[in-house]
Amino acid sequence: MATTSASSDDPTGAVPEAEPRSIFLRAYVPTDEPTPKRRGYPRPSDWVLVFDTETWPDAAQNMRIGTYQLRQRGRLRDKGIFYNPEEVRDFELAVLQREAVKHGSRLITVTEFREAILFDAAYKTDASIVGFNLPFDISRLAIKHGSARTIVRKDGTKDRSMVGGFTFKLSDVEGRPNIRVRHLSRRSAFINFTQVWDDPVYVMGDEGEEEVVKKPGFFLDLRTLAAALTSNSFTLDRLAGFLGVGRKGTFSDFGRDLDPELIAYAVQDTQVTWECYEALISRYRQHQLATPPTRIYSEAGLGKAYLNAMNIRPWRAVQPEFPPEIIGAIMSSYFGGRSEVHRRREIVPTLYCDFASMYPSVCTLMDLWRYVVSDGMTREDWTDGARALLAGVDLAALQRPETWRDFHALVLVKPAADIFPVRARYSDGPGGRYGADPSTTIGLNYLTSEQPVWMTLPDCIASKLLTGKSPEVVQAIRFVPKDVHTGLAPVNIAGNSAYGVDPATDNFYKRVIDLRREVKGRLSAAKKSGAAKSEIDRLDAEQLALKILANATSYGIFIELNVEDADRQDEPVTAYGVDGSFPTSPRQTETPGSHFHPLLATLITGSARLMLAITERLLLDEGLDWAFCDTDSMAFARPAGMAQTEFRKRVERVCAWFSALNPYEKPGSILEFEDQNTDRETGEPRDLYCYAISAKRYALFNWGDDGRPIIRKASAHGLGHLLPPYGPDDPDEPERDTGVHLWQEHFWEQMITAAAGRADDDDAEFVWRPELAKPAASRYAATTPTVLSWFAPFNKHRHYASQVRPFNFLLWFQSKKPHERAVEDNGALFDPRQRPPKPVAPYTKDLSTIDHIWDRETGEDVEPAWLRTYAEVLRTYPVHSESKFLDGGRTRRGPTRRRHILADLVWNIGKEGDRFEEDGSIGAEDDPAVPYGLTPSHRAAAIEAVRETKERFGVRAFRKAAGVSDNTITRALEPDSTIADRDLVRMRNGAERLWAADGVRAKEDAALLDGMRSRATEIGVPALAAELGVDASNLAKVLARTRTISASLRRSHAGT
């Protein structure tokens, strides 16, 4: 293929040989979710119930005692201690009675707490029910549990929001509701009251009993609200410290007899919870939002609350009739941020820069706010416009902000070695290309595809910058926002009238970022001038709120899809993908969030990729290299032989290029030098180095005077599931300025030292402290029915109170595979009874205190020889491959090169919910997906191939080559065949093998080409194209042998 100059990877400019692979594109499956309507929110009353439980530190984590406070308008109306009679012995009860009097608390049983306090007091009065990590405490109170199911609403639509959650029974009294809890993330859960037998609540009305809707209750988990308001994960103790309320202190020995100290701790726990609640609520009230705090589940929730406060009606509500085919096309162009390693496993002198507020910045440049406040959007064909823009666009044009306002377009392109984001299963060898469960990664690679694919206009421009040629445009759609909708209301951010935003006239994102920069300026001035702590705290809280608001409204909410398991009996649904609609029966459903607007999401990420592509182009033009990039940051690499000052000067020039695109009040470039480029103490420039292994796994460091690396910034990607092995030496305090735990810093130091000495780091032993020789532990909670079911064998012969129940958390360990064991024990490989155990232990913060690890299936003790140590788990980390690129193999070092993907099959996929693997691993670098099926055109082509092959070679040979039955072949050829994609792909592959072995196809194609060429000389290419009914430019390429003969061309030819 005669293409491209200036490839960024390869100075020779050669595009690598194409490798056929399946590629995966997102699709859209409408759900029967009613369009969001918001009339108002039920609000909690002025009662608040705060409670907390204390449990045994074993696997069952049974509740021993709990404490509560019942408050009305902040006033303490009742407080008490409740206890579990089954877990409290007589002498302990005596202690409890004495201590209750001392603390002025009532002493009641847990049953009395549930009935009199939780139901009679809190549930009936619509109280806010407050706790820290409520799912765990609620599950402690339960007397029984089950799995939550799909609820069919009165109008027949389905509410799947609780699927994958638990239902807890808390009372034997008839008519008392259950509580449903669905885990969303480590920070949040949906919690509500339900009815046991699905019977409605009756209330006494004016004319006797009337049916009313059920009350969901008002559960407020402080962990959730704290995370939403601060973007941070907290323990209760750390939250108390952060909010400046009395800390509760730490306590670790929960296994001892109840004594005054433990009871005082429990009482204090609830008091601290209350104080944190008060402080957080007053922070939330400052925002002056109508949305009740119980409905804020994340930062995105805060963003949505602001949009609601501005009376912004979501796109799906203003334009429900928007064609799903177009949404499908939009979704197929959607890819996440670009994260890649270019210089792998070598120490590279670097300068590290990142784009200030990347997503809000591209939103501002493209003026996407107009879509958020508009009454929907119109679309028009813009094929010629896109062709003209792509033909003319260059770096100079991109430096003009007005160019970016033309980017509201999707382009259907026919990629021919163009550089696009490509989602594929790169880690598969050629044999495993067509698995049914695609775990995919996205890489910016050369793509060639017969089937046209939708890309955003920014992605097309990025490709042109990197390849030097425009992609072939088949069609383009331009979107235009309609008029601004009426009734928009200005808001004051964080309740401060100086921070007013008028959604109708302001560009919201620009305004919020400008405000934040201003507040940050005042904050650092206040710090320098030694202003009062309260003033500093206020400014800090304000700048944080502004940051969260900008981020929460500029990207995630537009692509929010809530994934739930589909009901088994559900009928096939219609999906919309890259080339139209097709039926599918997915195992999961994706329900769009309230502000779902995928056009904005795909334009935002597309433009962010364009920013990085511009950076790449500029740095290559400056004669520089790069080490890695990650969504909004770029690590420039200094070429060998270049002086540091020269390197710095050139990087500064690249950064300065972006000044013209700065949309904000404060002048300067939006591509900024990060702090890591200067000395931590002096602030003077200091040589920075980078060591990167694969996408999102990298560290930046300085060399210390002692020859040891000083980590400046590191990634914990792929390490986050491991508990810190150091115990109290590595406390779970607010983040270190490297962004990772102490032990992770040490790990990076080890890897860098090994790499620097070239002491073969492939075999490095990572036991730099004795703790690393201990079994590697992770913390897992039974947050879903699936995870809980893994304990079924353990639970089977135990009574309820000693079972592992929902939300119990345990330590998990990794066991060795039999072949790893065999290194020490030859017998391990041959003994069929030897299966790797599934080791768990009761949770503890101090790993040195673990005394007993057992198999969660058999309950038997696990031999230590089975357990992988930290060192053993870490061993593969430094050789993690970057398989989406060439030369990214495990032990390779140095530059990676882009692959060239020939889109062999195009699959439609949906997003998959977070997955827990049973072996304790999480597919960290995957972009997990549920398959929806082949695209219709690829299905049709495959069926056509089956037909041709059967006719040519006969059923018997075909059956043998494809490994399918006669019946399968017959079914594939039925009209409107519903044959599974998997079978179809198998037959197609068999067919390819037959044709290849036969050589018939090659001969035929050669003859066909000869025939067409002589005909073309006779009548000309355009006339021949018209005769065959195909595209003239494609035909020309075929005749010039730059494109192979497609099945459709063969058919057209046979038809003439």
Binding site: G40, Q72, R77, D120, K124, M204, D206, V212, V213
Partner: protein
Amino acid sequence: MTDLDYDLHCDAERAKKRQKFEAAGHFVHVCVCCPQDDVLCLTFEHPAGKNSDDTTLLVCMNCKALRDCLQRAEPSPSPNPRNVFEVIGRWLLSMAGYFGILMSTLRGFGDFLINLAKDGYGDDLSFV
């Protein structure tokens, strides 16, 4: 019964009442004619009569009693309660009744504000 028990009881009744109003789409719980905002004192009102019209208002028992008093002076029902003119007519009379009550509320509040000003409260009005 303790104070706590009494308070919990009343607030449980309030919660039921609120829930009922919210189910009917009322998220602001104040009487249409006066400042009464205790849900226990509020009730639904069908301006055109329960059988003729789905729209509801929230009104307090006091104002409703006044309105009922006015209603007793209105013409007796015609033979067909679903006659369109009958429905609109009843609705208008009902509205007139509530506006009448509202007027006395507004007068009272106006007088109240003026007396405040006389006593020296309030700032200068400024137009921005």
